[in-house]
Amino acid sequence: MKLRSPSWVSFRRGSIGVLVALGAWEAFARSGLFSQALSPPIETIAVSLYQLFADGSMVRNAGATLGRVLLGLLIACLIGIPLGTAMARYRAWERFWLPLVSVLMPIPSLAWVPLFILWFGIGDITMIVVVSYAATFPIVYNVWTGVRSVNRIWLRAATAMGASESALFWKVVLFGALPYIITGIRLSFGRAWIAVIGGELLASPTWGLGRIIFDAKEFLNSSVMLAALLVIGVLGLVFERVVFQEIERRTVARWGMVASGKQ
């Protein structure tokens, strides 16, 4: 979703909104209503943010978190895309897997964390399993929908031009379903992002953005917590707006399959 009007007035009002919010926070922090250890002024947060970046720990922690998310997403794609396709193409696969998918999908991945900790320990494996669990279902569901909704005419045209079964799949079905597949991966990223932060808070592996927050809580470092929150928000925003929107613009939007900038 883009900002509707890039006009000067909206920009000014938007900045005023953000400034007022920041000002309100600052006034609240300095009022002494809460102790400053709990609600640090912006200056303190900025200093914490700078320190986290300066000693390199932020980059390392963010790298660990991002690595887990991307690996989990990759696993989810490797499972979800073939499974979703098979479900859409073969009746027996659909009948077998759909009930399982619809029962497992509404279970929040984070509910599994304590059990996974017992099974896989408090390391990267648990994190990656949780992230994959969270990310697989939206991909399966969207690929399944996408493959079923590939335009019939394209399939018939390709068949009429003598495409073999495998060519039909690789050159028509997969690309026809691409808008759905991209939507699925996008949704999955959102879920995976929540799962990884929650998983890191609960399982506290050695490195990770969730770990920073968890540690900071022990020492009442709320400025560090807020700095980490800021980084989490910015990373999420960058992926959602920049990476996925760019992928969409370069592929399906360019090929005229969806209107660009939509959604």
Partner: protein, 260 residues
């Protein structure tokens, strides 16, 4: 005759996947590859379920979780719908709040949990506030989009028929935005449900399914954990399939704005 056969075929297909999974699970559990304490047989899990139901512990915990869900979601619904409508209707409100909402939206609500614990202590208050905060963003954004996306032609038709601003808003814009508002509420509820369990683990509430799972971990009670997970899944399924599907059938589908 054919109908009876049909029913059995369909029921068979419904049961088959679960039967296969159950058999694989049971074989693994009994094979002794994993310690039974960590990978309990389904019989043990079922016994735990019966024990928890009889002692009332399952119900108490479920109740705690549901009350928190309802309170948090109500908070998100009221704030989100009101803010979304205001943003859709008044340009000033939109300009001021859109950047704030866009920045806040991608931060997973769960990340605030430790901070909220510091601010509001342990227990129910931070849990409800967090769930409310986490789910309010999708409600706000969808409501705002919905009010914006009301068809121009409906507005003009109402105007031409002499409706005043208030009437247009109450009788055209709002019902027109309803499909989006429902989508937002639905997304919000799903989000609330997904993080509530984890929030309970972090804020150490008195009774709750998340807390039950987390507590069972201390004693290696994997059977209790699995009962908790299954209950969570069942409630999630029920919320999705029953509550919202019904609500939609009674309003926007009936009005012909969306097909069922």
């Amino acid at each position: 005759m054919n109908r009876v056969k049909d029913f059995f075929v369909r029921a068979g297909w419904m049961v088959l996947p679960f039967l296969v999974v159950a058999i694989i699970w049971e074989t693994l559990a009994r094979s002794g590859i994993y310690p039974p304490k960590l990978f309990p047989s389904l019989v043990t899990v079922f016994e735990a379920l019966v024990r928890l139901v009889v002692s009332g512990a399952l119900w108490t915990n479920t109740q705690g979780t549901l009350v928190r869900l309802v309170l948090g979601f109500a908070l998100a619904g009221v704030v989100g719908v009101l803010l979304g409508i205001a943003m859709g209707r008044y340009r000033v409100v939109e300009d001021v709040f859109l950047p704030i909402v866009s920045i806040g939206y991608p931060i997973p609500g769960l990340a605030y949990a430790p901070l909220f614990v510091l601010w509001f202590g342990l227990g129910d208050l931070p849990a409800v506030l967090l769930v409310g905060l986490a789910s309010s963003f999708s409600v706000t954004i969808n409501t705002w989009k919905g009010v914006k996306a009301v068809r121009e032609i409906w507005l003009r038709a109402a105007q031409a028929m002499g409706a005043n601003d208030r009437q247009i808003f109450l009788q055209v814009s709002l019902p027109g935005a309803l499909p989006y508002i429902f989508t937002g509420l639905r997304l919000g509820l799903a989000q609330a449900w997904r993080i509530l369990v984890a929030v309970e683990m972090i804020t150490a509430v008195l009774h709750g399914l998340g807390w039950m799972i987390f507590g069972a971990q201390e004693f290696l009670n994997t059977d209790v954990m699995l009962v908790g997970i299954a209950t969570i899944g069942a409630i999630g399924l029920l919320l999705e399939k029953q509550v919202f599907a019904r609500l939609e059938a009674h309003t926007i589908v009936r009005w012909g704005m969306m097909s069922a």
